[in-house]
């Protein structure tokens, strides 16, 4: 009986939180088009989230490219199909691995950062101070951050893809003596707009999810410093889960378009 009660309260809590996030998201869309536009803060956030994530995304992408090629190469060689390597790596990185890995890395770096920063501002009454000074803290803090991560993530994904392909090329060059031109010609021959555009659109939604969840968790943070830690942590956990759900939906929708 107690276990059933527990499940019931958890479901209720989940539904309430889902409703709250939906309300938070709709507030974002209603505020984003309203004046005043916080352009300076938006650019500052773009720099913080975009430029300062480059190294992390670059290293991750490079290692993914190396590992993917190293692990796939022996299998393709068994079938005498190592010439297919650039096409296979290109398609898998651009369509799937690049966007999802970059988004997961950014959920860890940017999502937790937003959750912790806004959470800390909430518990130290900085958000209240903005509100009593007559400034709209939602517009200044939330809209700018969500927009920044939504705009920056597709660019980071493209950057991560490029570095991953370069990592893959290095392995191919070392193991199979493939030239730079030949490798990338094969990659671009295999890629179509139908691979790049859905991945880019998907990346916008990944960015939106990272921004909304990070801001929601931080903005509604409670219970002092313990709450700040929880906000950062739950922002990463919930975003990571959400990224896979969005990925599944994106692949499903893209598949429908391919069939048409």
């Amino acid at each position: 009986m107690k276990g059933l009660q527990n499940i019931k309260s958890r479901i209720l809590k989940f539904l309430i939180e889902t409703g709250d996030i939906a309300t938070f998201t709709s507030r974002f869309f209603s505020e984003v088009a309203k004046r005043p536009f916080e352009v300076k803060e938006l650019l500052r956030q773009c720099y913080q989230m975009g430029n300062k994530s480059l190294l992390l995304v670059g290293i991750t992408g490079f290692i993914i490219g190396l590992v993917l090629t190293l692990q796939t190469r022996p299998t393709l060689m068994e079938f005498g199909a190592e010439s297919w390597m650039p096409s296979m790596v290109g398609i898998s990185i651009v369509r799937e691995i690049g966007p999802i890995i970059t988004a997961l890395v950014c959920a860890g770096r940017i999502g937790s950062g937003i959750g912790a920063e806004l959470g800390s501002m909430r518990v130290t009454e900085q958000i209240d101070a903005m509100e009593v000074s007559g400034t709209n803290p939602f517009k200044y803090l939330v809209v700018t951050r969500v927009l920044a991560v939504t705009l920056m993530l597709p660019l980071l994904v493209l950057f991560g893809d490029a570095i991953a392909l370069f990592g893959s090329y290095l392995v191919e060059n070392l193991k199979g003596d493939v030239s730079f031109m030949l490798y990338f010609n094969k990659v671009f021959d295999a890629l179509e707009f139908g691979d790049i555009i859905p991945a880019t659109i998907k990346s916008f939604f990944f960015g939106l999810a990272i921004g909304i969840v990070g801001c929601y968790k931080g903005y509604n943070c409670k219970k002092g410093t313990e709450g700040v830690g929880k906000a950062a942590n739950s922002a990463v956990v919930l975003t990571s889960l959400l990224l896979f759900v969005i990925d599944f939906i994106a692949v499903f929708v893209t598949d429908i378009f391919y069939d048409l």
């Binding site: 009454e125 900085q126 209240d128 509100e131």
Partner: protein, 253 residues
């Protein structure tokens, strides 16, 4: 009582009637009443958790009261839309207990921040730099203009927060525990600063505190918030000499 009679002819700038606020089963405010008169320093004293901060947050619309009337400069804040509330807030300064300086901004940016939305309070050719410098000079910290909040001591943070409050030239200043967490000397400096500011800007001040020394130094009148209501009102001397055990408990050292 003499003080009450003396000020009762003055304009009421802040009026609260039968304010109630609960958090679940915890009934924090159970019908709180008060008036703040023009130019007055009114101290609200109460134990920790008695609802002082809840009351002050209801006053500026940070918390929504369950019931009751809150009139700030003859405007019922519960009936205002967001825009009107923001305009009214420009006339109310709020000094937070923990200073609440924006820690990603320098002192200068902290002070400039409230001006972003309320430039219309000043002339068209407003000199932001001059306003910031003047506010910092008032609190004696002009040399801290380019420092980050993390580089300031507790007392300096409180002074900068006060400067940020002053920059919009508010008519009412709300102080939430202005001396809490400060050593006695710094606390005394903050009290003197509050008195200077009151004289210079002719503001009305509502001070929330449980510090008896602060209350003695600054209050024209006091209200004791006990059991969620305005339990007793009077000057410091009147309340300090009261024989009611609940009131007496506040003034024991």
């Amino acid at each position: 009582m003499r003080k009450d009679l003396q000020i009762s002819n003055q304009e009421i700038v802040l009026h609260i009637k039968d304010l109630k606020k609960s958090f679940g089963d915890n009934h924090v405010l159970k019908g709180f009443n008060m008036n703040l008169y023009q130019g007055e320093n009114l101290v609200i004293m109460g134990k920790s958790g008695s609802g002082k901060s809840v009351m002050i947050k209801c006053l500026v619309g940070l918390l929504e009261a369950d019931s009751g009337l809150i009139r700030v400069m003859n405007k019922d804040i519960t009936g205002l839309d967001q825009r009107a509330l923001d305009i009214l807030r420009a006339d109310i300064g709020f000094l937070f207990q923990g200073s609440a300086l924006y820690d990603s901004m320098t002192v200068r940016e902290n002070l400039e921040f409230p001006l972003r939305r309320h430039k219309d309070k000043f002339d068209d050719n407003i000199d932001t730099e001059a306003l910031v410098s003047e506010a910092l000079e008032n609190v004696g910290l002009l040399n801290a203009i380019d420092l980050m909040p993390s580089e300031l001591s507790g007392g300096m943070k409180r002074r900068i927060a006060l400067a940020r409050t002053l920059i919009l030239r508010p008519k009412i200043i709300l102080y939430d525990e202005p001396t809490s967490g400060l050593d006695p000397i710094t606390a005394k400096e903050i009290i003197l600063l509050m008195q200077d500011i009151q004289k210079k800007y002719k503001t009305s001040s509502l001070i929330i505190t449980h510090d008896v020394d602060c209350a003695r130094a600054i209050s024209d009148r006091m209200i004791l918030l006990i059991d969620g209501i305005d339990y007793a009102t009077g000057t410091f001397e009147e309340l300090a000499s009261n024989e009611d055990p609940k009131i007496k408990a506040f003034f024991k050292h």
